[in-house]
Amino acid sequence: MRLVIARCSVDYVGRLTAHLPLAPRLILMKADGSVSVHADDRAFKPLNWMNPPCTVRESEEDGTHLWTVTHGKSGEKLILRIEEFLHDSSHELGADPGLQKDGVEAHLQELLADHITTLGEGYTLIRREYPTAIGPVDILCRDAEGGTVAVELKRRGDIDGVEQLTRYLELLNRDPALKPVRGVFAAQEIKPQARVLAGDRDIDCVTLDYDELRGIEPDVPRLF
């Protein structure tokens, strides 16, 4: 990753032409070959950019540095005229482990297993990640009457989650040691469509409060 802060003007020549007048900007040159030009706003969105595959040719013209980024297939060009370098550094970042969107989901599973009575008084845990032929069920537990309950956990409760739970329930209900198995669809937020589908299949919906499960005190004082 090469970070350059420079006073530059940028021209895009290709299917459309665009011009950025002379101003200080951040230029990111990433290991995949991409080049993007950022202003000091708009979070992730560059002013202009070139996707890989592309090549960068550096040259000089009347004392200004000229970087010509050419796209490998379309031949479109991003031309940067750099008047002055304010910063230039390179860092080896290596391979990224990737964004973990399901970190909360795993944590929810752990928390709900620890506080299984959130689902109702008298509930007891059988196990987390209960294995079935088509993958593990998030939580298998027993209700106060001793009936088996399969829990599917989601951050956002969508139709897909209900479908998934339906498949598990069908399989679990073939096991004479477990059946009848009831389903509980638990999520921080349940979409109305998912609620209708769950209701139609006799699956209960439970909305979870992540902060409450974590024992985080609310900012706003409450009566109880």
Binding site: P192, V196, G199, D200, L208, D209, V220, P221, R222, L223
Partner: protein
């Protein structure tokens, strides 16, 4: 099936029944309104019904039946059509797969849904007592405002109904405020006592829609008879709803009984001032109130942002007090009291305060209480 009915009568009945139609029907027939034209107890009646497995609604109106029968048509469409018909006599003629609605020179042909697939409406439980419809509507709207809207704690989305002889107590809370209203009613059995948890939104809608009759009968199913259900009936309209499960918080212990300061403020002025000053209060930032002898100062906003301040006349008994509230919750409470003068009772600035209307005479206590949790005074 064939009958005639006045447009206004039909439109009212259909609109009321359509309220209980599910937004997302899981079975197509649930999107329908059942029309049943028959002779019932010696009079010719049209009964309209809707049901979504949670709430059922049924209304009956007197009509001239030419040919008795039953049919099921799309409720939304029928409601739209009847609302837009000219003010004349409507004739409805059902013949197998089609229903023809004619009124003046307008004529609509609707497809029917299979009547035999329509679920049977739950039976109305036995009547437990009755109450004036306007009083009931007022009481329910005073209480339902404090009910929770978040499904994390389903029992807080309900209004707790407590019956103790001739006293009916309604309570709801979302953990930030608590509203309690007591009213007298006429129970069937003077010695009875019962509790129920009714979905707040349904209860509020029901109470509002039953003000066309003078009285509302309330029918609560026995706790032993399995599924909990409550029914309401008045002015030819009857509706049932499933009760909520879960333990309602023991709210009575939350109500303080001794106070360090009691303030009285003109309600209308106070509400106006709250609305004005809270214009600069961003979401979740508090509205600060300082009560001193003869004076109430409202403030919002901090040094970094826009600020507002306004002073009002007010009576204060006891210690001066500074306290901060969420302005929307404060307004809900002030709006709900039924007196021109708001009485606010405080213990300390971190303990809940009670808002009531000033009672007509000093001896009687107010039958409506709105408990509100203060927020931290940001310095």
């Amino acid at each position: 099936m064939k009958f005639r009915v006045e447009r206004d009568v039909l439109a009212d009945a259909v609109a009321w029944t359509a309220r209980a139609l599910p937004v997302r029907p899981s079975v197509p027939v649930l999107a329908g309104i059942l029309l049943d034209a028959n002779e019932d107890e010696g009079t010719q009646k049209l009964k309209l019904s809707s049901f979504d497995y949670e709430v059922s609604a049924q209304v009956s109106v007197d009509i001239d039946v030419e040919e008795p029968g039953t049919t099921l048509v799309s409720g939304r469409l029928l409601a739209e059509i009847t609302r837009n018909l000219p003010p004349q006599t409507v004739e409805i003629d059902a013949d197998g797969a089609k229903v023809v609605v004619s009124c003046g020179s307008a004529k609509f042909t609707l497809l029917t849904l299979p009547v035999e697939d329509y679920p049977t409406l739950p039976k109305m439980p036995q009547v437990t007592g009755s109450v004036g419809s306007d009083v009931f509507h007022a009481a329910v709207s005073q209480v339902a405002v404090a009910a929770g809207r978040d499904d994390t704690l389903p029992m807080l989305t309900g209004v707790r109904v407590e019956i103790e002889g001739d006293t009916l107590t309604l309570a709801s809370t979302d953990r930030y405020r608590l509203a309690v209203r007591e009213l007298t009613w006429t129970p069937e059995n003077p010695g009875m006592s019962a509790v129920a948890l009714v979905p707040a939104k349904t209860l509020a809608d029901t109470a509002k829609s039953l003000t066309s009759g003078a009285e509302v009968s309330i029918a609560l199913s026995d706790a032993e008879s399995g599924e909990g259900m409550i029914g309401f009936e008045g002015g030819g309209r009857r509706t049932t709803t499933r009760l909520l499960d879960g333990e309602f918080p023991k709210y009575r212990t939350l109500l303080p009984d001794s106070f360090g300061s009691v303030a009285e403020v003109q309600k209308a002025e106070f509400m106006e001032a709250v609305k004005r000053v809270s214009l600069v209060a961003e979401r979740n930032t508090p509205l600060r109130l300082s009560f001193s002898q003869g004076r109430l100062v409202l403030e919002a906003g901090t040094g970094d942002e826009a600020q507002a301040v306004e002073a009002l006349d007010s009576e204060l008994e006891g210690e001066d007090i500074q306290i901060a509230f969420n302005s929307a919750f404060l307004l809900d409470g002030l709006n709900a009291i039924d007196s021109d003068i708001a009485r606010l009772q405080f213990t300390t600035s971190t303990k809940p305060a009670i808002i009531t209307g000033k009672p007509a005479d000093e001896e009687s206590s107010s039958d409506y209480r709105y408990l509100i949790m203060p927020v931290r005074l940001s310095s």
